[in-house]
Amino acid sequence: MNKNKKIYLLIILVLLLTLPLFVSNLYYLHIINLVGIYTLVTIGLNILSGYTGQTSMGQAGFFAVGTYVTSLMMMNFDLPFFLALLIGVILTSIFGLIISIPAMKLSGPYLVLATVGFGEIVRLVLLNWTPVTKGAAGLTGIPFPEIFGLQIKTEKQFYYFIIIFVILGIYIAGRIAKSKIGRTFSAIREDDLAAEAMGVNVAGYKTAAFVISAMFAGLAGGLFGTFSGVTSPDSFTFDDSISFLCMSVIGGNKTIIGAVVGAFVLTVLSEALRVFQGTRLIIYGFILIFTVIYMPNGLVGIIENLKSKILMKKENKSME
């Protein structure tokens, strides 16, 4: 990492840590907290789809498992948040492992539909397994997390609480992406048959990608439950899975930072469009279409294109 990059990172970090001082509006802070949670889901999705080339349209299913397991562990067994979260993440990973068994052999529309099916099965079980999940009414009174006796409950406290997870998530995902595992993921995306021929254990790596993406969604879900205080199957529909996929593709699914951009832009956009009321979703739909047609590699792709253009110009000048 060069010196410039280190300074930029430091500036961003300071900005992130002081953000609540500038944002006094609690509603805005609430949206930013949601962005943080969605960022975690999208990071997992980027590792799965952008790096490994496997699409999931059932990510809301993993998100739901994380939310319900973590919340129920706290509510029914009085477990502290971190222990409940750990169980939630582990269980979500197991779901990722299970779904990767059929998913390993699938690609294209077949894989998409298998993941849709998984997401719907989770939602329908949450809806019908009333003794445990309370059915359509959902869970209420999910406890707040506690660290060292301090209860996290205000939007500002949640901001710092969530941002730590997000920074850690970005760091870990970045390390995975740059490691041998990340490069193998990309090799599988480009040509899984060729990778297999080179001796790569394609099935194992595809499973790993599913488990990692499930872990991120499960972690985000655990935070989502305690942050919202209430939850119901309505928060984990097919439309929510689509919305995660849109964040991933529109931000740019080939980089980790694309996940942050996508989660931020789409969450803020859908809130900002509320002023249009009835036509809100129509405008949202048009923006989705416009973006994928004119920015095929997402918003981050556009920035990278500009960067390389500027670099080329500089090089041309220095050559003269």
């Binding site: 789809s49 699409t55 068994i101 059929p102 052999k105 699938l106 294209g108 529309p109 077949y110 998409v112 539909l113 298998a114 849709v116 099916g117 998984f118 719907e120 099965i121 329908l124 079980v125 809806l127 019908n128 048959l193 097919f238 439309d239 689509i242 996929l245 849109c246 593709v249 529109i250 699914n253 009835g278 036509t279 979703l281 129509i282 949202y284 739909g285 048009f286 923006i287 989705l288 279409i289 994928v292 047609i293 004119y294 095929p296």
Partner: protein, 290 residues
């Protein structure tokens, strides 16, 4: 048991039509149109408007609805698929763009027809005819008959007409078809237009079973897609068989096991089929070529 199988036939015929529309687009153009379910919804609303509000008759409702929805389908091909093909965008972008179209169509329908569910009765009796312990309504018989009639017409069109032959050629090998001088742009257009029209008929047929609502498309679209994949995505007979199969499975699962878990059973079956027989239940296995 036979009672539930019989009950599954009308919804099965509708699923078969929707499955057909997914398969047809996939075979002819290699993409999936995620707004296909909303074509069903649009077909139901336009049919409802022509028949119930404008009082133009039952048969004209079918033709006007098919024509109008076909135009919407062609619009999606023209304004979404064509630019995406030109920019060589990845397949996932087609998915998101057609999902965007689905959001737009659904919310436009909400603005035009409002949030209330509309009743769309057929001009035939809804009273069951009993045969021993079994019973079926004339309405159900009509639904199945119209569905099967459309499937036969469609199959005939694919086999006999020049356009149909061109479409089959593109489906078999897009690149070779281009070399033979077939206009793939035209085949994309036909696939999107025809699939939308088939969806419109499915919409009118499902209208008397369920109410017509602006968000009915998502559910029926997914079920149609599931049927297509279970039967064999890209194959006409496979999709039709898949539609009836899923219709019957749902009816049996809902009646014999649990109505709440009915859809979960369908999706579990889907994942099992994908796992054990990825090419669908009714097609021969194919090996991937390197």
């Amino acid at each position: 048991m036979i009672r539930y199988i019989l009950n599954g036939l009308p919804i099965g015929a509708i699923y078969a039509l929707v499955a057909l529309s997914y398969s047809f687009i996939y075979a002819a153009s290699g993409v999936l149109n995620w707004s296909q379910g909303d074509m069903v919804m649009l077909g139901a609303y336009i049919g409802f408007t022509v028949y119930q509000i404008l009082n133009l008759g039952f048969v004209p409702a079918f033709f006007i609805s098919m024509l109008a929805v076909a135009i919407v389908g062609i619009g999606i091909q023209r304004f979404i698929l064509r630019p995406l093909r030109k920019s060589n965008a990845p397949a996932i972008n087609v998915t998101i763009a057609t999902l965007g179209a689905s959001i737009i169509i659904r919310n436009l329908a909400l603005m035009i027809w409002g949030p209330d569910a509309q009743l769309f009765p057929f001009p035939v009796s809804n009273k069951p005819i009993s045969m021993g312990s079994l019973s079926i309504t004339p309405q159900d018989i009509l639904i199945v008959l119209i569905g099967i009639l459309l499937m036969i017409i469609f199959q005939y069109f694919l086999k006999k007409s020049k356009e149909g032959k061109a479409l089959r050629a593109v489906a078999q090998d897009r690149y070779a078809a281009v070399l033979m001088g077939i206009d793939t742009e035209q085949s994309d257009r036909s696939a999107f237009g025809l699939s939308a029209a088939i969806g419109a008929v499915a919409g009118i047929l499902i209208a008397p079973i369920f109410f017509v609502t602006f968000n009915m498309g998502a559910g029926i679209g997914l079920k149609g897609f599931v049927s297509a994949v279970v039967g064999g995505l890209g194959s006409v007979p496979g999709s039709i068989a898949g539609g009836f199969f899923i219709g019957i499975v749902e009816s049996v699962a809902g009646g014999k096991i649990s109505s709440g878990y009915r859809d979960a059973i369908t999706y579990t079956l889907l994942i099992l089929v994908l796992w054990l027989r990825p090419t669908g239940l009714f097609l021969k296995k194919r090996k991937q070529k390197v």
